[in-house]
Symmetry: C2
Subunit: 776 residues, 2 copies
């Protein structure tokens, strides 16, 4: 058991680390050379196109304006200056709602900390050998401040129970207010959004196969019949995975070509050459530009054939479609009603944003989905409870002896004293570390196998799995001894009331561990987050090694989205710690509060300056956040019940047993009250928006607007490719894409003809814009 | 432990009892005097208006045609003669689906019994001291045939596990087929239904109050805006509970008046008189006809005032309304989408059939509903686990001493020897028996407090609660020792794996108890059901004592509906017994099979000849039936796991643990696959029906058809009353109800005017029909 002094030392170390990170960040961010690492969001939004610098050559890379070094901590007030509505405009509602989770933590635990300090710490301190806050306190055990210091059977436990009640009510009140606020923010956000394809479009899955009729006709017939006045058009979904691979290869070649053309432009006296062998290291020497042009031409022919095959082959049309309606009302009705008599056919739901669609999962039939869900649930369960078994097995293999057997030529190196001791201390944990590093990816793959159709849903599901893993292996695993599956076994053989008791009794003893965890993972971790050491190094490495064209540099700069699947579950672990220790060891709360405040600053800065969200789900993750905080409250209640029952305050159990019931009821009420705002779209809002639009822009052509949106991205990128190609071979550009778009057999309905016309128009418009940019 | 011989004796007794009941039934049913007790359904459907009899006066009461006595068991083939579609026509889909539950029982347990007898009984028998079926078997213990006879750690348990797998798969396959069949029957039934008001009508609850606008206007405005092309009209809901009481009183007086007028008609020389005092026993003697006419007139004036108050007072309009649409499509869309941005306002759902509406619960706000649900769940939990406490308390009071203290004048009687012993044997159980008799009523009241808006839902919810009670107190209570709350306590202190073991180990020992239970409650109980002793006695008593008019006789004859809340849960207990004992003691299965077959005969007869359903929910209870049978399967699997683990076949646990996972997955799949057919209405079907109707009867006036349906039944009955009054005072009949229908302040929109016109028209049409019948 660590004393307050030990904690103080640990805190000092972590604070110093965090400050070192912050200092490094403050120095690095004002160097122009790092501008694209620390402010990529502004480049993407177009507000910045090159780093601000002071003129001369050195100033291009290093900040020579020494005044800015004096104000190096000014990112904090800067991060706070932007108001929430501006953040929503700038970075989207997802980011704004994400920041609110940290504020929610402050709101819940701030007052809780004050009450706990005023009421519980005096009660705890007076319970043991110590009378009131005395001088000795600083050097005494931290347990003196916790519930451990209260004697068994003491009536003082009623103070703890009362505070638990107060805390639960306060947390629920805050959760309610926050849910309310986020729900209305979401509705406002959706209402204020400009006209978007997903507002008019519904994704229909499990389209049945009708003999002698093409899938497209089936969809057309069904929706014309059942949504006669609202149906507009639809977009079939093609199975274009193979095609996508070829397109990717072509893009790579195009990139090489651009690079070589650029090179040639800069030094026109020397045509660039390359060797055709492996990695360009050996083989025949050829003219690079000609070589790549030849390669691209070959690929294009391949693509043409493949594309024709996709459009012609009915096997490539998947039993799903994006169906568009002529009003938001029509789309809402279709998305929220049952279409077919067979409830597993014609499943409709809102179409995700076009950039949010996970195309590979669109065509999974219903039965397969059920089985996948079962298999993945079992796999997640196994992963959470038994992951340690294969790791231990790998560890036993990957020791020094095993290593020497596999790579015998390294033996002399391994046998060196300091390397040996390093490896011995390092290798056993390596498998575990690699596993933990791979874990989010594994969970994401599992979610993909489960068959969700949007990246936003995939990330939410991954977050759920990750939370479960953290809860069992980090939180419960730290408290109880032994591995998770050993615990599982012992729990199965313990009574229902025994389980919380077993865990509850060791909770106060683990307080110091969690305080250290908060400082290392939370404080120093957040400072690491703002420093962006990995992206910084990666950006400069890429810039030196592989960046050849402007497109490459943009790719290297790409800041990606906030990592919701990892960040949100980790964050919720802090809620859990706070809820559990609020009553047991209140001294932990200030550490959590500092984490929440600091993380809020950091992420506010990151959201404004760095991250660029891949999709916008309009805070669709909030119900999950809310549910998991409620789950945390329930866990804390059960653990307190267990803890108190070991303190022989047995008659407190019925008193505390009321709390979970109340909490669950509150959750159920919130679910009914707010969750529909995140899952459905009220007709009232659609009518308002439809009417508004009719007034503001009467007679708009929704069809042309909608029909372009849900083209398969590969077919779309193929068009880009094609048009780039058109730019190269100008004589073919006059009749863009005509050879490729032949009326597909069976699709010769007037509807389809219209659709094809639209595609042709699109080709033309894209071509025109590319052409213009080429000419200017 | 009873031997097979004991079981045989018990079976004999019960078979004799059942046959005695059947004989009594066969004799009583062919007496004309009992015709209205045993064939009321035919009277209600209009196929019969008076008993068939053989002419003379005695033949009116007693069957003198002795030929019919010879064929007294012919009700069985008669009951089977009617085909299922005819039953649906005759008694509705609810009854037909109810009968299918019994057939499902036969389908599941028939093959299961064959397999168990062929495989398990030989295995069990060969396990112990006995070799194969020998002569001694008949007199030996019944346990020799059960799993108890297999030695611990025997590999033979794999036979039991395999049969459990087989049984589960077979049961799931049958459940799937049945769910499929019932779902398509429901869709066909709904599709074949003629035009009904509920197809066009949606019940909207939690209408918000808008300042300065009447509720009716609010509803009108909201739906005209959000369902502009589909909205037709709406019917406000009035709080008319007080009014209903007065109307009831008036009906009683009207009945007396009719009776006296009839009396006077039959003996015109003597005007009937009555005394005004208590029960007509003393007081002033008056002319009955004049007296009642006077009383009715007074009441009518009171009703008039009250009615005006209801229509004028905005406090009497409840925040709910029945909104009708001009097509089924429009109504379906409204019922299945979210209307308002605030998801707890404007809650829409299908309107129940007019006769199914439970009017009192229409206006409960959402928050109140949540709280009611919580309170009732807690109450049900307390009732199930702690009901024995107050009963024991009452029992301790209601012993002989207590009785003598309360009614001292009865002491001499109580002290008589045989009466004393009778009371001593009887009184202690009396409180429990009264409680069990009251239980369905208590549970129904609880469901009513929960706030459901239709009788069908109320009955389904009551059935769920009753099943829970039976499961804990009858099934588990019989197996484990001690009262339910003692068990609850011990379970809380036992490990999760210990619970099924504790119960599992005593299962084989209780087989004889359940066999007896099946014979007493099942076999004899069914024979009692068909005998209808209580309705028979009540009908004749009522006929003798209180039946005065034709209306009274019809009331006395009223057979009511099948008692779903009691029958279905009891029935499901047999599924549970079957599932649990199929593997453990297969000898129990034939008893259950006989019950299912016999009950099927009996209820087929009753459905055809007796019961008259109050509402038609189109088999909406089936998902509950399915879910509970699945729950029974899960319980049986866990109990078998527990039982086998006591048999030290410990390595069987993982093998069996797969079964619940598979069963739950199957359940989830079925829920997705079929439940929407019971909760939602597919747009495809509405379009078909709308189109069909447009072809068959173009240009029908849905508005006039719909607007009459959802008038509050009391206001409707008031109109009847009023028109009867008009008949009496002819001069006022020319301007029917004009004085009462004044435009209510604030309701003077054109829509409301239309609505009022409809009401006036309705008055006129009802008046016309009554007037015509009066003239002819």
């Amino acid at each position: 058991m660590a004393s307050l002094g030990d904690i103080g030392v640990s805190a000092l170390i972590n604070i110093v680390t965090a400050f070192a990170f912050l200092l490094a960040f403050a120095l690095l961010r004002i160097q122009p050379i790092n501008d694209r690492v620390y402010f990529p969001k502004w480049y993407i939004s177009g507000a910045r196109s090159s780093p601000r610098h002071t003129g001369n050559f050195v100033g291009k890379f290093v900040n020579l304006n020494f005044k800015t070094y004096l104000t190096f901590l000014n990112w904090m007030p800067q991060a706070l200056r932007m108001k929430e509505p501006e953040i929503i405009d700038h970075a989207g509602l997802d980011s704004a709602a994400f920041l609110r989770i940290y504020v929610l933590g402050l709101k819940i635990f701030g007052p809780a900390a004050i009450v706990a300090f005023l009421v519980l710490i005096p009660v705890n301190v007076s319970g043991g050998m110590l009378f009131f806050l005395s001088h000795e306190l600083v050097i005494s055990d931290i347990d003196k401040l916790s519930i451990s210091n209260v004697r068994p059977k003491s009536p003082k436990f009623f103070a703890h129970i009362s505070v638990m009640y107060l805390f639960t009510f306060w947390a629920c009140y805050m959760l309610y207010k926050e849910y309310d606020a986020v729900a209305s923010m979401r509705l406002d956000f959706l209402a204020s959004k400009s006209r978007r394809a997903e507002q008019f479009t519904v994704l229909v899955k499990n389209v049945p196969h009708v003999d002698g009729r093409s899938l497209s006709d089936t969809v057309e017939y069904f929706f014309k019949k059942n949504h006669s006045t609202h149906y507009l058009c639809h977009q079939a979904v093609y199975n274009a995975n193979k095609f996508a691979r070829v397109v990717k290869k072509r893009q790579k070649l195009q990139n090489y070509l651009d690079y070589n053309e650029l090179k040639f432009e800069r030094s026109p006296h020397k045509r660039p050459t390359k060797k055709t062998g492996f990695l360009g290291l050996w083989g025949k020497k050829v003219d690079s530009i000609e070589y790549y042009q030849q390669q691209i031409k070959e690929l294009d022919e391949k693509l043409m054939v493949e594309r024709e095959r996709i459009l012609k082959d009915p096997k490539c049309i998947m039993p799903a479609a994006f169906v568009s309606f002529n009003s938001r009302w029509g789309a809402t009705v279709c998305a929220q009603t049952q279409q077919s008599k067979n409830p597993i056919l014609w499943l409709t739901d809102w179409a995700p944003e076009p950039r949010d669609v996970y195309w590979k999962n669109l065509a999974i039939p219903f039965v397969s989905l059920s089985i996948r869900k079962l298999v993945i649930s079992l796999a997640v369960f196994a992963l959470v409870f038994f992951y340690i078994i294969p790791i231990a097995f790998v560890q036993s293999l990957a020791n020094l002896d095993g290593l020497e057997r596999v790579v015998p030529f390294l033996r002399p190196v391994i046998e060196l004293g300091f390397i040996k001791s390093f490896l011995q201390g390092f290798l056993p944990g390596l498998a575990l570390k690699i596993f933990l590093w791979l874990l989010p990816g594994i969970l994401m793959t599992m979610s993909k196998i489960e068959g969700h159709v949007a990246f936003s849903v995939l990330e939410r599901e991954t977050a759920g799995k990750y939370y479960f893993f953290m809860l069992v292996n980090v939180f419960l695993g730290s408290i109880a001894t032994g591995t998770a599956f050993e615990q599982l076994n012992s729990f199965l053989h313990q009574s229902t009331t025994e389980i919380p008791r077993t865990i509850g009794v060791s909770i106060p003893m683990k307080a110091t561990f969690f305080i250290t965890y908060i400082m290392v993972d939370g404080w120093a971790g957040m400072a690491g987050e703002i420093l962006r050491l990995k992206p910084l190094i990666m950006f400069h490495l890429k810039n030196m090694l592989i960046v050849k064209t402007k497109r490459d540099r943009e790719k290297a700069m790409n800041p990606k989205s906030i990592d919701f699947p990892e960040t949100i579950p980790s964050l919720q672990l802090y809620f859990l710690m706070g809820a559990v220790y609020a009553v047991v060891t209140p001294i932990l709360l200030p550490f959590i509060l500092i984490f929440f405040a600091f993380a809020y600053f950091v992420y506010r800065h990151q959201v404004i300056n760095v991250y660029n969200q891949r999709y916008e789900s309009a805070a669709a993750f909030w119900p999950h956040v809310h549910t998991r905080i409620i789950a945390n409250l329930l866990i804390s209640q059960f653990l307190l019940m267990g803890l108190l029952s070991t303190k022989k305050a047995a008659n407190s159990t019925p008193l505390l047993a009321v709390l979970p019931v109340l909490t669950l009821t509150f959750h159920k009420y919130c679910k009914n009250r707010f969750e529909p705002a995140f899952r459905k779209y009220p007709l009232e809002a659609t009518v308002e928006k439809d009417t508004q639009e009719e007034v503001s822009s009467p007679g708009i052509d929704i069809k042309s607007f909608v029909s372009e949106a849900y083209l398969h991205p590969v077919l779309r990128s193929f068009e880009e490719v094609e048009l780039v190609e058109l730019r190269v071979e100008d004589n073919r550009a006059r009749i863009p894409s005509q050879p490729t778009i032949e009326p597909v057999s069976g699709l010769d309905s007037p509807k389809m003809q219209q659709h094809l016309q639209v595609v042709v128009q699109q080709h033309k418009s894209v071509y025109t814009s590319v052409h213009q940019s080429h000419n200017t």
